[in-house]
């Protein structure tokens, strides 16, 4: 295992499409984004930024949801990634209009799906 390496930070923009059918059922009369969908957006951004490497997500170490995310919101996700040779840890801070809505930390290992 090599010493941890801090990789270049990256910011991605996630547009919460009001036409996403999820809002029909979450919830009728009061559409809000299931918070766990933010985890998926960050996960996809990590996979995209590491295209060509076989990353498998092994842990969602911590998530804190601070404010609900609404249809039409534009979420900025600031990703900071650390690699120790085998594992990649991605911490993300998510904001809408400068206000923090969530923070989370995902862990990955190299290798194909189990």
């Amino acid at each position: 295992m090599s010493a941890p390496t801090r990789l270049a930070p990256e910011t991605v923009t996630i547009r919460i499409d009001p036409a996403d059918p999820v809002f029909e059922g979450h919830y009728p009369g009061f559409p809000i984004l299931p918070g766990l969908f933010l985890v998926e957006h960050v996960h996809q951004a990590v996979l995209a930024s590491w295209a060509g490497r076989q990353l498998r997500v092994t842990a969602l170490e911590a998530v804190r949801f601070r404010k609900p995310v609404m249809p039409g919101d534009v979420v900025r996700a600031a990703l900071s990634r650390t690699s120790d040779g085998t594992d990649l840890v991605c911490a993300a801070e998510l904001t809408v209009k400068g206000e923090r809505v969530a923070t989370l930390r995902l862990r990955y290992t190299e290798g194909g799906p189990r």
Partner: protein, 154 residues
């Protein structure tokens, strides 16, 4: 056995994001076992090249089992007239085998601590007896809609 009709009387989630098919066991205030079958007919698979069930839906399905248990004795089927369940935090989630269409997710949830309007739940998901998810701590809060709509354009 408690099916989808009764599940809809307890939690407010609806198609296409009601991700619990059936409750197999429940001890209100303590623990619950529920299941969800995955099929390729789900919208998540419309344009998906990867067979693995998306992480967000796996977590959301487990979390719905947690909310079912949390709301068992005080059903909350409509957020407009009731309260909104909001996940406030999750810690220590280990992700194991992937589930694919044809698999059944078996969720077990246990209440760790119950407060007035919040609950801490832990649990697991298995697929064919193998671990897909271990959740150390999931916290969920019940909030009045008015708290959320304050400051939002109506």
């Amino acid at each position: 056995m408690i099916g989808a009709g009764q599940i809809r009387e307890i939690i407010p989630h609806r198609y296409p994001i009601l991700l619990i098919d059936r409750v197999d066991e429940v001890v209100p205030g303590q623990r619950l076992v529920a299941r969800k079958a995955i099929t390729v007919a789900e919208s998540a698979y419309r344009d998906r090249a990867d067979d693995a069930y998306p992480l967000s839906l796996l977590l959301e399905s487990w979390a719905q089992a947690a909310v079912l248990l949390a709301c068992w004795d005080t059903p909350n089927p409509d957020v407009v007239t009731g309260k909104v369940e909001l996940a406030t935090g999750i810690r220590g989630v280990r992700i194991g085998v992937s589930a694919v269409p044809g698999d059944v997710l078996v969720h077990e949830v246990v209440i760790v601590r119950a407060l007035d309007d919040a609950m801490i739940v832990s649990g697991t998901t298995t697929v064919n007896g193998e671990s897909a998810l271990v959740v150390e701590q999931f916290s969920v809060a019940l909030r009045d809609l008015s708290v959320l709509t304050a400051g939002q354009p109506s």
